[in-house]
């Protein structure tokens, strides 16, 4: 008889590795198939990982995990055409262990996490693309990869945002451009001491910054900057629907080049050497755009399920990937006890996801995608804020206007009315 695994995991990203790690830890026979040369070879993040939501799910890994810098300061920059206004948040709470979030490079982290899963007994095969699912009486019973047929009780689709596996299982929602963004970035190498000097950091402290407005020419999205140990991740996330529209017509690579040349950025990356350019689609449709999470003999986790979320101040996906992988594994363990891998048995995954922070977050923030679509956030407000600051700070040759009337001139009735409308929508987040 052909060897049959307890589970076959498609894709060695965070969801896949989290489920393989969890399953192998419980003695299950689990096979991970990864199409890249090594785990992480195809994986991209902005990026930053928030550890709190997943710390207890993998208690043993955080001490040695190859994370970059813990984020000790958070910046938001409203970028207008000619000027910008920044807010920086630093706080003692960000300096206290356990640290809330870390910058991260996926090729490094994923490869390490795969090692941990292998140490627990998971089997990992790289350079292996899964081409198809194998069905029997409508139930998923395995996968086809490079001509080989591999069988398992459960297939866990962790093949990322484009999830061809979930699609083949009929679990994927129709693709609509408004539900997706693209992130692309450069890794710019700099001496650690230069990074620390430029960002006012000490030791392993790191900085995270977001940029709104001119960086995307008013289109839905923004720029980001994270400091790694000896590099800076600098990039843009932008809604694909806005990007493909021709008002204004601008090519994605141009946006990043112009962003890099802004004064606010140029000084930070000066002398740095770009060593990699990467890009990836991000699911951003929120709760309403999630794919179906389970079927007969199959579970879907991470980006494959649509589990990433943009709520303006944070863009998160990696914690959801790790946690959904964990819950998928828990579901396989429970199904194994009863030797029942039907959709009904695997619906346990849905239940666990509902009662976890994952789907609670997605429900809490289900209005966010519609609210944030508002073009005023990406054009009007950054410009207005910049203009107000310009007028407040300007000292002319003659007498200076009073501050209140200076600000009030921007607050015509129509503007106040529009702001109130925006505010009421923002209150839904």
């Amino acid at each position: 008889m052909m060897e049959k695994f307890d589970a076959i995991v498609v894709g060695a990203g965070l969801a896949g590795l989290a489920s393989a790690y969890t399953l192998a830890n419980e003695g299950m026979e689990v096979l991970v198939l990864e199409r890249g040369d090594y785990p992480g070879a195809k994986n991209v993040t902005g990026g930053r990982l928030y550890v709190n939501p997943v710390r207890e799910l993998f208690p043993d890994i955080w001490k040695k995990a190859p994370l970059e810098r813990f984020i000790a300061s958070e910046g938001v920059c409203m970028m207008a055409g000619e000027r910008s206004v920044s807010i920086n948040y630093a706080g003692n709470e960000l300096l206290e262990e356990p640290y809330q979030s870390f910058s991260i490079l996926r090729a490094r982290f994923d490869r390490w996490l795969a090692k941990q899963a292998e140490r627990k007994g998971a089997m990992l095969v790289d350079k292996s693309r899964v081409d198809d699912l194998i069905f029997e009486d409508g139930k998923v019973i395995g996968v086809r990869a490079a001509g080989d047929e591999l069988h398992a009780n459960v297939v866990i689709a962790c093949d990322g945002v484009l999830s061809f596996i979930a699609e083949k299982a009929g679990l994927r929602r129709k693709v609509e451009a408004p539900n997706y963004a693209v992130g692309y970035k450069e890794i710019i190498e700099l001496d650690p001491s230069q990074i620390e000097d430029r960002f006012g950091l000490e030791g392993n402290e790191g900085s995270a910054r977001m940029y709104m407005g001119e960086v995307t020419k008013g289109k839905f999205g923004g720029g980001f900057l994270y400091t790694n140990k000896s590099s800076i991740s600098l990039g843009i996330v932008i809604g694909i629907k806005d990007l493909m529209e021709e008002k204004p017509s601008i090519e994605a690579p141009v946006l990043l080049d112009e962003f890099k040349q802004r004064r606010e950025i140029a000084g930070l990356i000066k002398g740095g050497e770009t060593v990699e350019y990467s890009a990836h689609v991000i699911p951003e449709g929120g709760y309403k755009a999630l794919n179906k999470l389970y079927g007969d003999g199959i579970l879907v986790a991470g980006d494959a399920a649509g589990l990433a979320m943009n709520i303006g101040v944070t863009v998160r996906g990696m914690e959801y990937a790790l946690a959904s992988g964990y819950y998928a594994a828990q579901t396989v363990l429970q199904a194994k006890e009863k030797e029942d891998f039907s959709a009904a048995a695997l619906s346990h995954y849905q239940t666990q996801m509902e009662s976890s922070f994952i789907l609670q977050d997605f429900k809490n923030f289900q209005e966010a995608p519609q609210v944030l679509e508002n073009p005023r956030f990406f054009n009007h407000y950054p410009e207005m804020l910049g203009n107000i600051m310009k007028d407040i700070y300007e000292v002319p040759a003659g007498s200076k206007n009073r501050l209140y009337p200076t600000i009030k001139q921007y607050m015509a009735f129509s503007e106040l009315w529009a702001m109130l409308g925006d505010m009421r929508k923002v209150m839904k987040i």
Partner: protein, 94 residues
């Protein structure tokens, strides 16, 4: 001021392993489809361009496998697969 490096040079920094066959193809007869023009704007690697006949062309070398063209243009105009195992872009940082 840091130099703006060209897109080609930027892609040249990445590690690519050649696949026997192009993993993304423009479907026959779709070269002039308006949906395909979106790819010119959205591709972060700038791999799509329009020729003098108004047809969209794709150069697959330098593909970051991000999936943006697939989302923007759809499967009616693009045949889209991941490259075979162990080929395509191999990120060293990600």
């Amino acid at each position: 001021m840091s130099e703006a490096i060209g897109l080609k040079a930027k892609l040249g920094l990445d590690v690519f392993k050649h696949d026997k066959e192009a993993h993304i193809k423009i479907k026959d007869g779709m070269q002039k489809d308006p949906r395909l023009k979106r790819a010119i704007l959205v591709c972060p690697a700038g791999l799509y361009s329009e020729n003098e006949q108004g047809e969209v062309e794709l150069t697959i070398d330098g593909c970051l496998e991000c999936g943006t063209c697939l989302i923007a243009c759809g499967t009616e105009v693009l045949e889209w697969h991941y490259p075979s195992g162990g080929t395509g872009v191999q990120f060293r940082f990600g």
